[in-house]
Symmetry: C2
Subunit: 179 residues, 2 copies
């Protein structure tokens, strides 16, 4: 088993259950095309395939998971470095982020209008990642840094806990979990 197995099929409730994920993906692809164009980058076939695998769920996935899924889907084999390079481009375009605490990557479904100040919330049960805006976070970090003479230029924040769906499931009797 992968060291950080973030995709827990038994607990997965993301895909198809609680929302129409096709909408998420469509919006994301649109934004990706736009963003790549803006930055003078190209949304190539490989990059698109990688993005589709990452965006297939709201979970954070490892680069080697992406690799396996690409292979499973298309048969042709891709080298790790190719996946990493594609991810790097997707990150530059702002459509994929890295979950630092897990060495994994997730699709960004909510463009950060305010540049900084977003946080990732990771569900310990189902591995889903949601991003929340936290406009005061960056300011507060900058203030805290300034007191120490430290000029903060960028920051990350990751929170861990239990998401809404998993909390609801946890309070249900066990025999209803399949309903």
């Amino acid at each position: 088993m992968r060291r950080h197995e973030l995709t827990n099929p038994a607990a997965a409730h993301t895909d198809g259950a609680s929302h129409d994920h096709a909408v998420c993906i469509d919006a994301l692809l649109d934004r990706a095309k736009h963003s790549f164009g803006e930055k003078g980058l190209k949304l190539t076939a490989l990059r698109l395939r990688v993005l589709e695998e990452i965006a297939a769920s709201h979970d954070a996935v490892g680069a080697y998971d992406v690799l396996e899924r690409l292979a499973a889907r298309s048969g042709g084999k891709v080298a790790p470095i190719s996946v990493y390079r594609a991810i790097e481009a997707l990150r530059e375009a702002g459509v994929v982020h890295r979950l630092e605490s897990r060495n994994a990557f997730f699709a960004c479904h909510a463009p950060h209008l305010g540049r900084h100040g977003h946080m990732a919330l990771v569900c310990d049960k189902c591995a889903e990642v949601v991003e929340v805006e936290a406009p005061d976070f960056h300011a507060s970090l900058q203030r805290a840094g300034r007191d120490r003479g430290f000029a903060v230029t960028s920051a990350i924040a990751e929170g861990f806990g239990v998401c809404e769906v998993c909390r609801a499931e946890a309070t249900k009797p066990a025999h209803e979990e399949q309903s």
Copy 2:
């Protein structure tokens, strides 16, 4: 070169230059003894050696850096897993933290009285890590999460920028940098 070479000898200004680091270490060791005792853990010889290596600077160091330094200092070889186990114990005791964005570890010189709400500021130039209190951070994260039905139980925050000393050096003419 290490992928994440966090200790930059050329830029290092931590050791001996800007403060009496022996004081930091003494305080830290005191706190470690106390904390291990409180938690029913043992501050064994190996754990102490690992702590000393990590605490030797204010930089974040990789587990394998610690490994090499232990070997260089004592000659005897230690297995990676032993270092990781020691680090894990030190983290439980609260005297060492993990810098998630760098897969590295640093000594905690400022006990977190308020449980959560600390952030690590990492200097991009010299790799030094300083921790700052940010009492509002955890609360704000919890608030943001609650709006989404997400119950946040723990969090990390890491900021990046340039520390006071490096900023001062950057504004000095080059020929004065050795002064």
